[in-house]
Symmetry: C2
Subunit: 349 residues, 2 copies
C-alpha cells in the first residue's frame, strides 16, 4: 500500500480543512457556552478525557488558566466508576472530551456532574453519542469519520475547540484574528515537512526516546510521545522540562534521543538552556521550533515555517511529530493505520 | 562500599520508625487543618508539587476524593512563574508538598494563594523553609535529614501525612486504627524482601519497562518508575491501566517487562484481566500484590506479607519497588546514593 493511500496520511492532511470548518461553524456554540460560564460564575473546570483527548485537556489547563483565569482539574474517572465515590463538584464546569463519545468512564463523569447539577459541556466528533447527550453544551469537531486508529485530525480539532472557547471568553478581537490564521499555518507546516526521508532513515532503529515540552506545549510532548508509541512501538517518555530535571534526567546518556518542543514564547529561554545541557551530555537532539538559534542547536531541526503566538503554537508543534511517527511506522512495518493490539474505540471504566 | 552503608539503604529501612513518629506527633496539626477545612467549606483542593512529592499528590487525589469528597487539582506551576498569569483560586485549599521546601515554583504557587486569601497548607521535611512560611498549616514530615538523592522515607512520610489528614476529616475510628497498623506492615514488607539476589539477577540487563497501577496506586506506579529511572537509568513508563489501553499497549512485545501494582481491592479484578492479556502477548510480568491468584500469574511475584486496606496499600506497595531500584543500582554501578547528573534539591521555576 502506498503511504498516500493510508487513512493516517489522508487524515493528517485533512487537518487544515477540518480546522477551518470548525472555526467557522462552532463559534455560536462556543459563544453560548462562554455566556453560560459567565452567568454561572463557575468556580473551576474539571475535564474528563483519556488518551489523545487527555493531551488536548492539558492544553486547556494552560490556556483556560493563563488567558481565562480558571483552575482546570483533570478528573480521575475511577472515583466515579470503580470506587463509586464521586467527589462534590460544586459550581464547576465539567467537560468531557472524546472523539468517539463512547468511553464509559467519561460518560460516567458527565452523568454524575448532571446529577449534581453542575454545568456540563462535551467536545466530540460524535454529536449523536451517549456522551454528547450528557452535555448542556456540545462543541462538534465535525472532523468527518476518523478511520486510522491513531487520532490526528481530531486531536488538532479538539485543540481548536478549546482555543475557540478561550477566545469567546476573552472577547478580544486580536485573539480571534490569530486563531483564524491557524489553518493556513497548519497547511504550511505540513508542506514544509512533506519529505521526511532523511529523518526517517536517521531514526529508523530508535528504540526509546524522551519528548520534552512546557506550558502550552506540555500536552504537545504527551501527544507526540503517544503517536510514536502507538504507531512505531518506540518506548517514549514525555515530560515537562521542569519535571524532567526532578530525576528522569538521569536516564540521558550519549546518543539518547530527545525531542524538544520549543516554539517562540515565554518558555523558549528555559528550553534553550535545557537543550544546551542535553548536548553537553551527548544527547541526540531533535527540535520543533521557529527559533533559528534553537534549531541550530539540534542534530535534527524540525522548523515551523509560519510562527503562531505561543498560545496557539500547539496546533502546529504537534504536526512534525505526527509526520515523524507516520513515516517511521510506514518504514518499519508498512501499516500506520492499524497498530498491533489497538482498536479505535477503547472502552475503559 | 557495602550496600548496608549507603544512605539509600539506611533511609529505606528507617521508614517504619519515621512513619510511627509522624502518626504520633502530627495528629494535632492534622486535626487543626481538618477543622479549618470544615469551617471554610472549601470548594476544592489544589496541590503544587514536583517529582516524588507530585507522586504523593496523586495519592491525595484519590484518597481525599473518594473518602473526603474533595475534587483535587494538580497545579500547573508555570502559570504562576513563567506566564505570570495565576488563575482565580477562589475558596480552595492550596497545598504545597516538598521535602526540601526550597523549590521556587512551589513557593510561588503558595505565595499567590496567600495573596488571593486562599487557605494554605504545607507538607514538608523542612519546617523552617521558605515554603513552610507560606502555610497557614504545616504538617512536619519529621523524617530526619534525607541524604540520598532519590527520596524514599520522605515519600512514604508524605503519604502518611495525606492519610492522616483524611482520617481527621473522616472522624472514623476504624480508619485511624488501620492507619496505626501501617508502620508494622511497612517493617514486615521490608523484611520479606530483604533478599533480592534472584530478582536483581533476572533484571540486571533490563533497559526499559512499564509500571502499571490504578486508583490509589496510580501514584505508586509513578513513584516506582521514578526510582527505577533515577537509580538504575532504565527507561520506565508509568501508566494507569486504563490510560495504558488507550494506545501505549502497542509497545508490548514478547519479553517486555511490565511491573503491575495490584493489591487487593476494587481495582484488582481489572488488573487481573490486564495481567492475563499481557501474558498472552508474551510480556514479562512482575507483580506487587497480596493476592495469591494474581501473584501466581507473574514471572516475578513480589508479595505483600501484611495486607492493608486498599486506601492505605500505597504505603507498602511502593516498598518492593524502592528495594528493586536500589539493588539494581548497586549491582549495576555500585552507588545508589548519587545518581549521575542529579542533585538533591532541584530548583525549577
Amino acid at each position: 500500500m502506498l503511504l498516500e493511500e493510508t487513512y493516517t496520511y489522508r487524515e493528517i492532511h485533512e487537518q487544515p480543512q477540518v480546522l477551518a470548518r470548525l472555526l467557522e461553524r462552532e463559534r455560536p456554540a462556543a459563544q453560548a457556552l462562554a455566556a453560560a460560564l459567565r452567568q454561572r460564575q463557575v468556580d473551576y473546570v474539571l475535564i474528563a478525557a483519556r488518551g489523545t483527548s487527555d493531551n488536548a485537556a492539558r492544553y486547556a489547563q494552560y490556556l483556560w488558566g493563563a488567558v481565562n483565569g480558571y483552575v482546570v482539574a483533570l478528573a480521575t474517572p475511577s472515583l466515579f466508576t470503580i470506587y463509586h465515590a464521586p467527589p462534590r463538584l460544586g459550581n464547576a464546569l465539567v467537560v468531557g472530551i472524546s472523539q468517539s463519545g463512547k468511553s464509559p468512564d467519561i460518560i460516567a463523569v458527565l452523568a454524575e456532574a448532571r446529577r449534581q447539577g453542575a454545568l456540563t459541556a462535551v467536545i466530540t466528533n460524535a454529536v449523536n453519542s451517549e456522551l454528547a447527550r450528557q452535555g448542556d453544551f456540545v462543541l462538534d469537531l465535525g472532523a468527518g469519520e476518523e478511520r486510522a486508529v491513531a487520532a490526528t485530525k481530531t486531536y488538532t480539532a479538539e485543540l481548536a475547540a478549546i482555543a475557540l472557547l478561550s477566545c469567546c471568553l476573552a472577547e478580544d478581537g486580536t485573539r480571534w484574528e490569530a486563531l483564524r490564521a491557524v489553518p493556513d499555518a497548519v497547511a504550511a507546516t505540513l508542506s514544509a515537512h512533506a519529505d521526511m526521508t532523511q529523518v526517517t532513515r536517521r531514526y529508523y532503529a530508535m528504540r526509546h526516546c524522551v519528548v520534552l515540552g512546557r506550558g502550552y506545549n506540555y500536552g504537545s510532548a504527551f501527544e507526540i510521545a503517544l503517536k510514536l508509541k502507538e504507531l512505531t512501538y518506540t518506548v517514549v517518555e514525555p515530560y515537562s522540562s521542569a519535571d524532567f530535571l526532578h530525576g528522569p534526567l538521569a536516564v540521558i546518556e550519549a546518543g539518547f534521543p530527545v525531542l524538544v518542543v520549543a516554539p517562540s514564547g515565554l518558555t523558549l529561554n528555559e528550553l534553550r538552556h535545557l537543550v544546551q545541557m542535553l548536548r553537553e551530555r551527548g544527547a541526540e537532539v531533535l527540535a520543533i521550533s521557529d527559533d533559528a538559534e534553537l534549531l541550530s542547536l539540534a542534530h535534527t531541526p524540525l522548523p515551523l515555517p509560519q510562527p503562531l503566538p505561543e498560545w496557539l503554537s500547539p496546533l502546529t508543534c504537534v504536526l512534525p511529530g505526527q509526520l515523524l511517527a507516520m513515516h517511521l511506522a510506514y518504514a518499519r512495518h508498512g501499516n500506520p493505520d492499524q497498530p498491533r493490539g489497538l482498536r479505535k474505540v477503547t472502552e475503559t471504566m
